[in-house]
Point group: C2
């Protein structure tokens, strides 16, 4: 069991001693099958922390449970739930450990698992999170949208395979403003852009095939393509985006089946692919007949000036599958994104979506449609742009103050991220742990490129405005200590 | 392209002739890449129907497009978009047809695909749909829930891997009322029960393994387990549910890795597993250490008397993975269900859920939690039970009137379904098509058991109350004609 977070603490006002309450609680976990026989229980330290008691109290409880035969200590693998001795009849549960190790899907990278859990630790400051701060949540407008929904929604059934038609009409109109001609029939509503990637991985790629992508890339932090038997092959970036010359070579070398690219505010580097590079990349892919997935979820987060048109707006042969989303600009909690492409592809992926979750939440689809139709979305975008500008300035000021001698970075013109390249090598795993112990949650660069061991993805979008500056000061101290320690 | 539903019709008030408008529309589809080169366009009949014009108008437009080289007629495969001749430079698109045929996931069964599309045809009467009628949508209470949400929601970010804690607390309290002890840590919020099945198929089952299930079963209408390389092996039913004696044999014969069962208002037969059979099934599975997925999404739809306790309530060794949902009882459009099981399993599946869609919609999770916390859910259940009782009576009356000599059926004590077994063999495919042409959408029995070729899954839940009786009369006429035709 990964990070243990108890939903329960003993009652200090009760006459029953704490350790007896803990015994009863743990027996309940075991009896109900939540902790099946053979499973490892959390460490003494984790239990004590989660329950808010001294470690010695936990030790007393565990010793009694071991004496009574509920648990046993196993060398090297901690304390384990026993199979039987506490029950009258001997019935061993299924070998769940074997099941948990089976299955087609690989687990998330350990660091990603830890980040997913640690994000919810109370008080933690999230310095790399790719999500708008709760401070930027449009409380008033969301209230207005929710109140309008009641009048619109006459029922909340399953929707069409491609998604609610009213939403697809709004998306069609919205992307026209970006230069993309897409009728509702060529749009698939997805539960966030990540789901579109999963559908692509399961639906249109050959097992054993290869995807080209920028190196570094967000996609390296995921395992879903690898789980579907597909390889990733990185193509280097320069200041103008993915290198078109290397791209052509990469296609041939790897007999690639797809290019995945984030041309606008690339994750994690923040780069914008130039006008000219966009044309070159498209030319190469057209010549090679290589499909392109254009991940454009950060486009609206420009802070200085609007971006060059999407690849999809220049696509004349139905080459580009285009990904958009409300997650980065409005609310990840809606879980609404869209995939635009040739109809045969959209229909294949809609069919798979029906097999995996019967479509995105209708409630969320109606809410998203209302955001787009009402014009509130554009209003909201202007508001968050000014919020993000302020935050970018705070982070840059702190970097200039605390990191000038430690690292280099590029000033982003939009999006969420600053790709911090430390001058000296660090043991990233240790830095991550130390930072977490100090209350900072980091996104190590090697999640996005195994070789980027001295990089960090910083985000000015999530942490509280009042905390950003101090958090950077603390981080610089940790990095300095760390660099000094390395030198020893 | 499956069923074609145009989002566009020509403008009859325009001076431009209809066929010219159609030409311009189709050129737009091709130019934008929505209909890539090599793809087959919809049939003349489908185009004419969708656009609301005569077939001859479509023919005129297509002939001109063929003459200009945009389209070509191919023997045996209809009209196909040409690769190049209409553009200055020759750039062939990717071979999308090859991509669409690739991928790990199998397409849905053709009949399921047609049903998924046909459900949205205007005026169609859905006689087999497993969903509450829009007539039973709780408009007023949903309005109350939405208005309360505004005060609760301070931001709509990504949630914890297992789902919104507040919702899991409500689920924990709710299932306690069914006799199930489950702390929030052993509950995974899913985007409907179907997603839980997908997570199980990708997360904890060995490729090449086998799942046992009732025959017939809803699960036969899905392809997701087969897509993940897992086989299904059916076990016969009797009036008390899945046969425990055959189960033991099946486990050994197939070296099964899991039992999937719907003990309460089984889909499609409507059967309820008896108290005694539940104990026997659990005993067999305990002895064989076989995990059980208990799909209990219909439980609250009892119409005559509450049901025997779930298998999960009797589970003493953490054997049962329990599936619940709001889709059948409240709203499929929320897309909120839950999976309850041992923590190591829940954590493995939560990790995969994070990889596939970053969690269910927070908006929907908050709404679901509010439904449970407010007590509105229980209020609503009583209301729909009386609605379903009325509907069941209408359907049974129509059956007695029109089908007494044609078929047999069992009176269901809850759920949605009546499993209609026709006395004579029918060509199901033809009956399905004839019914659809007459405005009725059927769920053929062979979706749930290949051998059930003369069965239909009827549902009294979805169609309008005022339409149910007439629709059954029409269906009986079709069956009679069909049976007479067969006899010739």
């Amino acid at each position: 069991m990964a990070t243990f977070r108890s939903d329960w603490q003993p009652d200090r006002s009760s006459p029953v001693p704490l350790y007896k309450q803990i015994i009863a609680y743990l027996q309940g976990k075991i009896r109900s099958g939540e902790w099946p026989a053979g499973s490892k229980i959390p460490s003494q330290r984790a239990l004590a922390k989660a329950m808010g008691v001294n470690r010695s109290t936990v030790v007393t409880a565990l010793e009694e449970l071991i004496a009574e035969g509920w648990l046993e200590g196993k060398t090297g693998s901690g304390t384990v739930v026993t199979g039987s001795s506490w029950r009258e009849q001997v019935t061993l549960p299924p070998d769940w450990n074997r099941y948990v190790r089976a299955g087609l899907y690989r687990p998330n990278l350990p660091t990603i698992q830890e980040i997913n859990q640690a994000e919810f630790l109370p008080g933690i400051i999230r310095l790399g999170t790719g999500e708008l701060s709760p401070e930027l949540h449009p409380h008033q407008l969301m209230g207005e949208v929710l109140s309008r929904l009641h009048a619109r929604i006459r029922s909340l059934g399953y929707e069409e395979p491609k998604g609610l038609l009213f939403l697809r009409e709004q998306i069609s109109r919205y992307v026209a403003s970006l230069g993309i001609q897409a009728s509702p029939g060529s749009i698939l509503v997805v539960s966030g852009a990540l789901q579109a990637l999963q559908l692509i991985s399961l639906g249109i790629l050959q097992q054993g095939g290869t995807i080209l992508l920028e190196k570094p890339s967000y996609l390296y932090s995921l395992r879903l393509f690898q789980s579907a038997g597909i390889r990733l092959a990185g193509v280097p970036l320069d200041a103008h985006g993915i290198r078109a010359d290397c791209l052509a070579a990469g296609i041939k070398k790897h007999r690639a089946g797809l290019l995945y690219t984030i041309p606008s505010f690339h994750n994690p580097t923040g780069l914008v692919m130039s006008e000219r590079r966009r044309a070159e990349v498209l030319r190469v892919c057209e010549a090679e007949r290589l499909p392109v997935v254009e991940d454009d979820v950060y486009r609206e987060l420009w802070l200085d000036e609007p971006l060059p048109a999407p690849l999809k707006a220049r696509d004349r042969s139905g080459l580009v599958l285009y990904l958009g989303s409300l997650s980065k600009t409005l609310s990840p909690g809606l879980r609404i994104g869209w995939l635009i492409g040739p109809e045969p592809v959209i229909e294949r992926l809609a069919d798979i979506k029906m097999q995996t979750d019967y479509g995105a939440s209708s409630l969320a689809q109606w809410a998203a449609a209302e955001w787009l139709a009402s014009g509130f979305y554009q209003q909201h975008l202007e508001r968050i742009r000014s919020g993000l500008r302020r935050r970018r300035e705070i982070l840059l000021e702190a970097l200039r103050r605390d990191f000038s001698d430690l690292a280099e970075w590029t000033v982003p013109t939009g999006g969420f991220y600053i790709w911090l390249r430390l001058h000296s090598q660090v043991r990233m795993r240790e830095l991550f742990d130390q930072a977490r112990a100090a209350g900072l949650l980091l996104h190590p660069g090697n999640l996005y490129d195994r070789a980027a061991t001295s990089c960090l993805r910083l985000s000015y979008a999530y942490a509280k405005e009042t905390e950003l500056s101090e958090a950077l000061r603390l981080l610089s101290r940790l990095v300095r200590q760390h660099a000094a320690g390395q030198g020893e």
